[in-house]
Amino acid sequence: MRAYFSAFRMRLRLETQYRGAMIGGILCQLFFGIILVALYRALYAGRPQPIPIEHVTTYVWIQQSLFRMLTSTDVDLYDKIRSGNISYDLCRPVSMYWFYYFRAAAQKLMGSLMRGAPMIAFAALLPRGWGITAPDSLPAFALSIAALFPGFLCMCALENIAIGVTMRTLDPRGISGMLSLLMITFSGNLLPLTLFPDRWQAVIRWLPYSQLLDAPIRLYTGEYAPAEAVWIIPMQFLWAAVLMGLGMWLWDSNRKRLIVQGG
């Protein structure tokens, strides 16, 4: 267990290094957030929806702030897969899956905290209807934070599945590229899931992708009542377990068919 935690800690430190790039990234993400909010406000002006605009802008800001949690990937690992250096990792007396799981977790956690915290602070300063609103109630807030944890576990598990696929195809731009597109679309980053057609939502809310950020955000804004957390949070954990199982199976079968060439 200690080995995994030190992998986690090392990766945390690495993530805090590039501060200059981070500030540029934050400003860029803020700009995207403002454009999206302006767009939804214009759309709402013509035809108000049952979901209040404050909830939509809150949705946009949380999604934009935690964007790195969804998208940041371990570039080094992809290089290792392509070059074959991943075979060195077989020498470590740890489970490869969990070793990289903890690394991905550290990267996603630190990357999104460092960018997300200032962005949420900025969004909280914006006037009502532009920025992020206060949570629906205190229990709603506590439960949304609690729901972020299994959501985060799902995100790291999805990341490892994408890597497992890349181990087979060797090219991250093919199938795993498609997987990340699915994630961007059905996690609510492209368009808030609350604005999807109602009949689609009935299905989408059960998919693994909506467990990541959509479920916590809906708990926060009160779209899901606090009482509903009784089945939402267990469902998130269930998906996390399923995705981890799938990823471990994928990594395991990859390890068996791995051929290390000499030289």
Binding site: L27, F32, L39, A42, R47, I184, L191
Partner: protein, 266 residues
């Protein structure tokens, strides 16, 4: 003429190299198709829920989306050297080799890359333009076709010009500047929709500073028969020229920037 021949030849060579891994190439083209399809899906879902925004109907919104998609990805196909690889050329010192050859740096960089996978993105854009013009009942004429061609051409120049800003920055600071993405990719996201729906600061930004509104939306709105900002018809042919102006200015600045270029070594 010689220059054009050189450009065509280098594009041909790059295409050949892209075609070496056929199955990977096809798969990547499919990925691009799904990606741009996803972007269009967002517009479709917006139209499904909101039906229209201000005076713009669903068809109009598809038309604007198509304009952006076709212009942006055409630029990516023909000028990938600038839009993609330039910062890494500076960082790795590959740019140095270009200085030995008897052609301008800008031209050689332009010849150094293409991204043919984007062709499927353009296909999505074209489909969106066709669907949009059908739904909005556009009656095509020679003049309108000309306006559309001019708009796409000038928008490509504008987009190339905006990417040159990033190139100029990367000459000075070596590391690529993520912030400049706000104006290129941010501009793409924002101006998929007509700019007159945005609040004043954004409207000014995309009309004056990064004039997407002038190069693609004024003519598009004229084609749809609903002039943007209520401007007269002749503006549909004049304002797009700002794209060429931005590109010319940026090429001058780029050449000036190259005077200060210091190689990073190898």
């Amino acid at each position: 003429m010689n220059t054009i021949k050189l450009y065509v030849r280098s594009m041909g060579m790059l295409m050949k190299s892209h075609m070496q891994y056929t199955s990977s190439f096809i798969l990547q083209m499919l990925t691009q198709l799904v990606m741009e399809g996803g972007e269009m899906l967002a517009v479709i879902l917006v139209v499904d829920r909101f039906e229209k925004v201000n005076q713009w109907t669903g068809g109009d919104l598809y038309f604007f989306f198509g304009m952006m998609s076709v212009s942006f990805y055409t630029t990516e196909i023909f000028a990938r050297g600038i839009t993609g690889d330039f910062p890494s050329m500076v960082r790795t010192g590959r740019l140095d080799t270009l200085m030995l050859r008897p052609r301008t740096i800008f031209f050689q960089v332009l010849c150094s890359g293409t991204d043919p996978r984007r062709i499927t993105c353009i296909a999505v854009g074209v489909a969106s333009l066709i669907i949009g013009s059908r739904m909005s009942g556009v009656e095509w004429s020679v003049l309108k076709a000309l306006a559309l061609t001019e708009a796409v051409l000038m928008s490509c120049m504008l987009i190339l010009g905006l990417f040159l800003i990033e190139a100029i920055f990367s000459i000075h600071s070596v590391k690529s500047v993520e912030l400049v993405n706000a104006i290129t990719y941010g501009g793409r996201s924002a101006c998929q929709y007509p700019t007159d729906i945005y609040p004043r600061p954004l409207k000014i930004l995309f009309t004056v500073v990064a004039p997407f509104a002038l190069t693609m939306q004024v003519p598009a709105a004229w084609i749809l028969g609903k002039p943007l900002y209520g401007w007269p018809a002749w503006t549909a042919f004049v304002t797009p020229l700002s794209g060429a102006a931005v590109l010319a200015l940026m090429i001058v600045l780029f050449n000036r920037g190259m005077k200060y270029y210091r190689s990073t070594g190898s």
